[in-house]
Symmetry: C2
Subunit: 375 residues, 2 copies
């Protein structure tokens, strides 16, 4: 169909679990979600009648997609901003949110870092580095060690190299610069734990934030989240986050991944989208991150999220084999399954949430109930 | 597609808002919802890739539908049980839940009444009546007046005639017996308020119930629900409901519509499905009626629903014109919209929920926020 309907038509670029959960919440609110993705078996393609086969980097596919929607949004910052920009120019009635300018800045770790520094957010020292020789020269600047990060398309640890010793540096394959393009190198931050915080902003400047959460990574992949976390720098950071989103004239959901050094909160990375650290909100808050992102991009007043009970936890269900998973429904946990047709070790297949007066109690319940799944 | 997938394929007969909310919750749990309905614009057809065009009373459509699913369930008891039965016989691997036997008993007010009496549930005196003459003879049996109800296909007041005086009886068009087929006549029960209660049972006999809720009808259509309601007959009635569901070997969600006379709770009608009186559970309980119905028919352990806060309320958004509705998102209420393409006076277009420590406070908030919608 290429005729627009009465209801707001929301176009989501990508068909993964984040797009799926955005679709489900769009249906609930009466907005019609369109999905652009390669396969009808993609998690989001299964949950709407308005799936469009195609690639988010293909000009023709994008052109057709833009003609069917009122608003275009992203489930990932890893897209070809120039192609989307040129299609957007030909479809001026379509709102793109977050803006392609913001996505462009944030999809590149170098410009992302620069934007953080410009706005006064605490983040680790960094340099652009484009060759092994440069890296060797810069290494002495980082007595505590450093982290080499690919400028683009790095996620869940892909394209990230922790260099804590000269030995690590020697073991690094110099060809990565040839193979993976531009990098930044940043100071290694010894942290007590990793935290995350999310903000949501609409075009009128209406802005709300989530509580601070702890996020636990295993093999560079998020395993669990719990919260709320109290930290004496939380308020300072929330203010900075608001200022940051305003400075980018940002519209939609944004997550900051943080290092907690004990005394300080240091921004590790920025995700310009709904985020794994916010999945608990589907059950733990009075409004969830998907509904808030949609309200933000549609341009209606946001609702300030409140805790339903004192605490919450989320546990990712990661694939452990290639066998068809066996789900568990016997636990106290609230299951959110993504409908992925292929199981793979480490793949995010779903997540479970628990809400109670005590985050640690909730996390304990989830760890137990995760064992009941055969992944 | 006519090949079954790994995940449980759930077939829903009908495409209205109840089917839509069942689909959304099936997606969440990783079951694949199929919908059989006439139009791709039906509320449920919009929210799944597995919509099948057809009529739930058409043998050919049903045959094709049964070949695609593992379980078949209903969004309405008003179906042709014989046609579905004959298709089910040819697809023995497909589970039908609730059973067609139970649906058959409950879709007919006469056999429904008889089943209630058999099981000792309190309900009003009644007689079968098939002609105006019979009705005139029986009228004297009901000094407080009576209610004439069509045996089949009566809902939201359609096919129901309240006769509180001889005059009402005289004004009744005798042709209704010709036009609408068989009827029952039952004693008119003067009630203080109307209540409802829901139960959920799986094939293993696992059974849970919802709290008692007050339901307020306007022009025989549910306008709002609030709860929990405390009544000294509540426990007695819950026990009877359990016994009733067991006696029917019932699998799925069931709602009892009740009259509260002050001292007693009297069963008015039985709905063998998810029910408007349970919509609040999407936000007010630790598990909602749609998820529980699905767990029951899939045959996994049920979860006992707990209140998230002390109280809850639900307010139906009923059409008031034929104009495209304007939704409101500015309130505290949680909107659940059904995506209906045509607005009509009295049509259920969506509902809003609110949860707080006080049902009356929640209802007050919803009444205010309902005014912000232009329906």
């Amino acid at each position: 169909m290429s005729v627009k309907k009465d209801q707001t038509q929301i176009g989501i670029l990508g068909g993964g679990q984040l797009a799926r959960m955005l679709c489900l919440k769009a249906h609930e609110a009466g907005w019609e979600p369109h999905v652009l993705s390669p396969s009808p078996e993609d998690p989001a393609a299964q949950v709407t009648a308005l799936w469009h086969k195609g690639s988010i980097d293909n000009r023709t596919d994008l052109s057709h997609f833009f003609k069917n929607v009122d608003i275009v949004t992203f489930e990932s910052e890893f897209c070809d901003v120039n192609v989307i920009q040129s299609v957007a120019r030909e479809n001026k009635k379509v709102t793109v949110a977050p803006s392609l300018q913001a996505i462009g800045i944030l999809q590149d770790r170098l410009s992302q870092k620069e934007s953080l520094v410009q706005c006064g957010l605490p983040t680790s020292r960094f340099f652009e580095v484009s060759s092994y020789q440069d890296l060797q020269k810069l290494y002495s600047q980082f007595p505590k060690g450093c982290v080499l990060k690919r400028r683009r398309f790095g996620y869940d640890g892909y394209g990230t190299f922790v260099l804590k010793s000269k030995k690590d540096l020697q073991n690094l394959n110099p060809d990565v610069f040839e193979l993976l393009g531009g990098f930044i190198v940043e100071e290694y931050i010894p942290f007590k734990r990793e935290l995350a915080i999310m903000g949501f902003r609409n075009a009128s400047g209406d802005l709300v934030t989530f509580p601070l959460s702890e996020t636990y990574q295993e093999n560079a992949r998020c395993l669990w989240v719990k919260g709320p976390i109290f930290h004496n720098k939380a308020l300072f950071l929330k203010k900075k986050l608001k200022k940051y989103m305003e400075s980018l004239n940002y519209v939609g959901a944004m997550a900051l991944e943080l290092f907690d050094t004990g005394s300080d909160l240091i921004v590790n990375e920025v995700a310009p989208r709904v985020h794994n650290s916010g999945h608990y909100s589907l059950d733990g808050l009075t409004i969830d991150q998907f509904a808030l992102h949609l309200r933000a991009i549609v341009g209606i007043p946001l609702k300030s999220p409140k805790l339903l009970l004192g605490g919450y936890a989320m546990y990712n269900l990661l694939g452990q084999s290639k066998k068809a998973p066996k789900l568990s429904f016997s636990s106290e946990a609230h299951l959110h399954w993504y409908g992925k047709k292929e199981n793979r070790p480490g793949r995010k297949m779903g997540h479970i949430n628990h809400v109670s007066s005590d985050p640690d109690k909730s996390l304990k319940i989830l760890k137990k109930s995760a064992k009941e799944f055969q992944l």
